[in-house]
């Protein structure tokens, strides 16, 4: 059983923000990640502030201009099944559909998915690692088969979210609200790498809530997708995930976004892979060049060299499926 905590269920965003001014409080969305963190002692909130009755965090709307507004508390299953999301923002629908099991997708929310904590076994285990304020990243010289091949440094954990790479690729923006007011942050600037701050994964300030995610309308010629490699077929975190969003003009790629999950401490936007695609036709040559460019600068650890080849493979497979239509 979880350690005891107080519980509050506010009925509005304003009340939720008031309750969260208390630093010992944590927001509870689906709880599928937070409860594991509490079980493992990684989170020790004295009070959970339930988001279940906050109307501002709910709803999934397609706006007249074709953009999406997705309340942070929207369950992933709803997102994965939504016809307009599947049709026009396939990367997001596919990413949401690939999170955990059906049960977890019925409960887990989009906001919680973006803000979940790392799965590194040293971080979740009984180790005073760098991310918990200690001096050492134990994975660097320890068991690191599931760890980063890109952007590591002071901590080599990988960002676990499937939806984060998709939202970065789709140029989404997140709306935050906190004690000092509201602000908008591009999804690509939400995440914090270890060189900037090894103790946190996002720019959210204490007491801030993620309110909604805004996904711009898909322009004409847009295609997107998400693919991931897992250690088992049923359900699992991504060993490697890839989100790609393209805008095609005729056969030529006008704009490309290639964002990787599971390989770096934050969703990893690969500009070399994007450059290998932009201005070229989607053919065998550009696909292979982009797959190769996606692992440019990769620096595998003792046990995760396989991720380099796996990343190439996943990027190439996803691009090939997008090329096929």
């Amino acid at each position: 059983m979880l350690p005891a905590f107080a519980y509050a269920r506010p009925g509005s965003l304003r009340e939720a923000l008031d309750l969260l001014k208390d630093a010992a409080s944590a927001p509870l969305a689906g709880g599928t990640d937070l409860q594991g963190c509490m079980e493992d002692g990684v989170a020790r909130p004295a009070r959970l502030v339930s988001l279940a009755a906050v109307p501002e965090l709910r709803g999934l709307e397609v706006r007249p201009d074709g953009s999406l507004r997705i309340g942070a508390a929207t369950p992933l299953a709803e997102l994965a099944a939504h016809p307009a999301v599947r049709q026009r923002h396939a990367a997001l629908a596919r990413a949401a559909a690939s999170v955990g099991s059906p049960q977890l997708r019925n409960q887990g929310t989009l906001g919680g998915n973006l803000l979940q904590r790392p799965r590194c076994w040293y971080f979740r285990g009984d180790f005073p690692c760098a991310r918990k304020g200690g001096g050492t990243c134990y994975a660097q010289d320890g068991r690191n088969a599931r760890h980063a091949i890109l952007g590591g440094g002071r901590c080599v954990m990988v960002h676990p979210s499937d939806t984060a790479p998709a939202l970065v690729a789709l140029d989404a923006v997140v709306q935050l609200a906190g004690p000092r007011g509201a602000r908008r942050v591009p999804a690509g600037e939400l995440f914090v790498g270890p060189e900037r701050d090894v103790r946190r994964e996002t720019v959210l300030a204490p007491g801030e809530l993620l309110v909604e995610v805004l996904v711009p309308a898909a322009p004409p010629g847009a295609r997107s997708g998400y693919d991931k490699a897992r250690a088992r077929g049923s359900f699992d975190f991504a060993l490697v995930g890839a989100a790609v969003a393209l805008v095609l003009r005729g056969r030529s790629v006008e704009r490309a976004r290639v964002v990787l999950g599971g390989v770096a401490p934050l969703p990893w936007r690969s500009r070399p892979a994007e450059q290998a695609l932009e201005g070229r036709a989607l053919d065998e040559g550009s696909l292979a060049a982009a797959a190769e460019a996606a692992v440019a600068g990769a620096d595998p650890l003792a046990e995760n060299g396989y991720k380099v080849a796996m990343t190439r493979g996943i990027v190439q497979r996803l691009l090939a499926s997008l090329a096929a239509g």
Partner: protein, 204 residues
């Protein structure tokens, strides 16, 4: 930790609301249309009165915020058909339906499902009146030790409610949150196909 209700509607544990009102209406009602009302809370270690709708019956009881629905079903209400396995969302043994959608009862706080429609294996597999899914599991020998079966049946109920005639691929995906340590998977998949076919044939 079993919870005893002394019949007064309050437990012996202290019950604290930050605003001094009775147990009813302490928390904001769930649902998008919930009218805004002052935020109130339950203190750590205290219990709060909730009404849970389980298999069509209202149960009024006192829960601590940290109690999972799995704990409440088994230890407070004696509904032991829902099984504990990993208690971390990894095995599906504890699968129940909340408003028709499958959920892991181990990761669901009881206080969070107040007012929602909860269905457990006791509601679908009554010995005298098994659902088409429960009957299909019997007909296909879809278990060995049977420990995972209540969760498998509930997962299949949730899948077929959403998608009455799933393809084999959809069945595999829909049942992927439920592990079977005996490896009865081929028969489980057949049972789901049979249940789907029997519904097609017009049976309940």
């Amino acid at each position: 930790m079993a919870h005893q209700d002394d019949g007064s509607g309050f437990s012996r544990r202290t019950f604290i609301g930050s605003i001094g009102v009775g147990a009813a209406g302490l928390l904001a009602p769930l649902g998008a249309g919930a009218a805004a009302q002052a935020a109130r809370e339950v203190a750590a270690g205290a219990t709060v009165a909730v009404t849970l709708q389980i298999n069509g019956q209202a149960h009024r009881l006192e829960v601590e915020p940290r109690w999972s629905l799995l704990h409440v079903l088994r230890e407070v209400l004696g509904l032991t058909g829902t099984k504990p396995g990993c208690e971390r969302g990894e095995c599906g043994a504890c699968t129940v339906l909340i408003d028709g959608a499958t959920r892991n009862a181990c990761l669901t706080l009881a206080v969070e499902v107040e007012g929602r429609e909860i269905r457990t294996i006791e509601g679908v597999a009554r010995p005298d009146q098994p659902s088409a899914v429960a009957q299909a599991f019997v007909d296909e020998d879809a278990f060995q030790c049977g420990y995972c079966t209540p969760g498998q049946v509930m997962a299949a109920e949730g899948l077929l409610a959403r998608s009455p005639h799933p393809s084999p691929e959809e069945i595999r995906a829909g049942m992927s949150g439920n592990l079977c340590r005996c490896g009865a998977y081929p028969h489980i998949l057949k049972a789901v196909e049979r249940a789907s076919a029997s519904r097609r044939g017009g049976r309940p």
